[in-house]
C-alpha cells in the first residue's frame, strides 16, 4: 500500500481546521505527514515513505481523523497525539457524566451563548474520558461499543 499523501493545500486545510476547532498551533505539524486511506486521515512521521518501501505494508501510522470530509471526526489516537497541544474543544465533565459517557449514554448540557456543534474531548479531572458529539443541548458519547462493557465494569470515578 502506497500512502496517498495530502498535498500542501489539503494539509493546510487540516492545519487550519485543527487550529480553529482545537487550538492546535500550526508549528506542531512540522514532524508529521498525513495520508488518506479508506474513510480517514492517517498520521505518520514525516518522510517515512522515503525511508522504507511501504508498497507491501499492511498498515502504518495512526488514524487521527475519520470520515470522508469535513467535519472530520477526531479519533482517540488524535487525542493521544494532540491533547497536550489542544486549547479548545475540551470540556470538563462531572464523575457521573464521565460514567454515563463511558456507558455510551448521552448527557444533557445546556447550550451556552458560544455553543458550537462538533466533536469535543471530554475530560474528568483533566483526564481524557471520551469523545462526544455536541448537538443543540446534548453530548452524544462516541465511545465504541466494543469498549463500553470492558470499561464500565471496572470504572469507579470518585470525586
Amino acid at each position: 500500500m502506497l500512502p496517498n499523501l495530502l498535498n500542501d493545500n489539503e494539509f493546510q486545510l487540516i492545519q487550519n481546521y485543527c487550529f480553529d476547532r482545537y487550538g492546535i498551533e500550526k508549528e506542531v505539524w512540522i514532524y508529521y505527514s498525513l495520508y488518506k486511506r479508506k474513510e480517514g486521515l492517517w498520521l505518520v512521521n514525516k518522510g517515512i515513505e522515503n525511508q522504507i518501501d511501504l508498497s507491501q505494508a499492511e498498515s502504518f501510522g495512526l488514524r487521527i481523523l475519520s470520515g470522508k470530509n469535513y467535519p472530520y471526526k477526531i479519533t482517540r489516537s488524535f487525542v493521544q497525539v494532540f491533547l497536550k497541544h489542544m486549547s479548545k474543544g475540551l470540556i470538563e465533565v462531572t464523575s457521573a457524566q464521565a460514567e454515563s459517557l463511558l456507558k455510551r449514554e448521552t448527557i444533557q448540557i445546556e447550550a451556552g451563548p458560544n455553543f458550537q456543534k462538533g466533536y469535543y474531548v471530554c475530560l474528568y479531572q483533566e483526564k481524557f474520558v471520551a469523545i462526544a458529539l455536541r448537538t443543540q443541548d446534548a453530548f452524544v458519547s462516541q465511545v465504541p461499543k466494543s469498549l463500553t462493557g470492558q470499561l464500565s465494569n471496572n470504572l469507579k470515578f470518585s470525586e
Binding site: 512521521n45 502504518f60 501510522g61 495512526l62 494532540f82 481524557f128
Partner: protein, 315 residues
C-alpha cells in the same frame, strides 16, 4: 509441589540452584505494568497507583515499571490501560528492547512482532521518531499487534504481514534488529499459568524432539535473514523465552560460525539485573567462550519469566 519432568530431566545440571528454580515455579506470576512514555495523559503511572492506594513494587528504580497485585483482568479492563498509559509485560521481556540501545531516529526492524509488547516498547524508546518495521505472519496476532500500537499511540511503525524469512527489503537496510522469535516458551511455565491452560495440549510440557527441531530450523532461518538485513555497524538482538540451549546458544553459535563479521558484545542496560551468563557447554555440545556475554534470566533470580538474550554487532 507440581512435578516438572521436562525441567528435571533436561535442566537439573544447567540451571543453577535448581531446587529454588523449581519452587519459584509454584509462586504466582507477578503482574508488571510498563509505563508508556507516549501516553498523553496528564499523570504518570506511579501517580495513578499512589492515588489508588495500590500496593505496588518498583523492582528497578531506573525503569518506569511497576509490579502490582492481581488479577490480570482488572488491569486489562482499567480505563488507563485502554488509554495507553501502560502495557502489561513481564520484567524479563524489557531486556530485549533495552539491550538494543536504540537512538530515536534509527531504522529498526522487529522481526516477530505480535502481540507487540516489545514493538510498543521500542516505539517508546524511539520517542515515535525514525522508522520501525514490525512483521508478523499470523493474521489474528497481527490484529492484536495493531490494536496495541493504536492503544499506545505509536505512529512511527509500519506493519508487514510476512514471515521474517520472506521480508522484501534490501540487504543492509536496518540499523537495529530485534529477533524475538518463535520458541518453546518454557520460560513462561508457572503453576498458576499452566493450570487450566491450553499449553498442556500442545506438547509444550514434554520434550517433543520433532517440534523442537522444526523450531530450531526456523530460528536459524530467521537469524540468517536478520544478519542479511542488518547494516554494517548495526546491532542485532536475539531473544527467546525458553531455557533450551538448542534454541538459544546453539542458534547464536550457528550465526557466529556462519558470519565472520558478526560478534557478540556485552549487554549493557545501565542498571543491575541478576542475570546468568549463557552456557558454554550442554549435553555434550561445546560453545565458544564469548557465549558468556549472552544472558540467561531465571525466575528464581528475578521474579519474572525465564528469558534469553544475545546481542551482536556486525562489523
Amino acid at each position: 509441589m507440581m512435578d516438572w519432568p521436562l525441567f528435571s530431566e533436561r535442566y537439573r545440571e544447567l540451571i543453577p540452584n535448581f531446587s529454588e528454580f523449581l519452587s519459584s515455579l509454584e509462586k504466582p506470576f507477578p503482574i508488571g505494568l510498563r509505563e508508556n512514555p507516549l501516553s498523553c495523559l496528564p499523570y504518570g503511572l506511579e501517580e495513578k497507583l499512589k492515588k489508588m492506594n495500590c500496593d505496588y513494587n518498583r523492582p528497578i528504580l531506573e525503569l518506569d515499571y511497576f509490579e502490582v497485585p492481581g488479577p490480570r483482568k482488572n488491569w486489562g479492563g482499567d480505563i488507563d490501560h485502554h488509554l495507553g498509559l501502560y502495557f502489561m509485560q513481564a520484567l524479563s521481556s524489557l531486556m530485549a528492547p533495552l539491550a538494543l540501545a536504540l537512538r530515536p531516529g534509527s531504522m529498526v526492524l522487529d522481526m516477530c512482532a505480535a502481540p507487540g509488547g516489545k514493538t510498543t516498547h521500542l516505539c517508546g524508546i524511539m520517542e515515535n521518531k525514525g522508522t520501525l518495521v514490525a512483521t508478523e505472519p499470523d493474521l489474528n496476532r497481527r490484529r492484536i499487534l495493531k490494536g496495541n500500537l493504536t492503544r499506545l499511540a505509536s505512529f512511527n511503525t509500519a506493519i508487514y504481514p510476512f514471515k521474517g524469512q520472506d521480508l522484501p527489503f534490501n540487504n543492509e537496510s536496518f540499523d537495529c534488529i530485534l529477533l524475538d522469535g518463535p520458541c518453546s516458551s518454557e520460560g513462561t511455565f508457572r503453576t498458576d499459568v499452566i493450570n487450566g491452560s491450553k499449553r498442556r495440549k500442545n506438547n509444550y510440557l514434554e520434550y517433543n524432539r520433532y517440534f523442537r527441531e522444526s523450531l530450531h530450523k526456523e530460528q536459524i532461518e530467521l537469524i540468517e535473514k536478520s544478519y542479511k538485513l542488518l547494516k554494517k555497524g548495526g546491532t542485532l538482538v536475539y531473544s527467546t523465552c525458553t531455557y533450551d540451549p538448542q534454541e538459544n546458544e546453539e542458534v547464536v553459535m550457528h550465526a557466529l560460525q556462519k558470519f565472520s563479521d558478526l560478534s557478540l558484545v556485552p549487554i549493557e542496560l545501565g542498571f543491575h539485573l541478576d542475570v546468568c551468563p549463557g552456557v558454554t557447554q550442554y549435553n555434550g555440545q561445546s560453545y565458544c567462550e564469548e557465549m558468556a556475554l549472552t544472558a540467561r534470566l531465571y525466575p528464581h533470580f528475578i521474579n519474572s519469566i525465564g528469558f534469553y538474550v544475545a546481542k551482536f554487532i556486525k562489523r
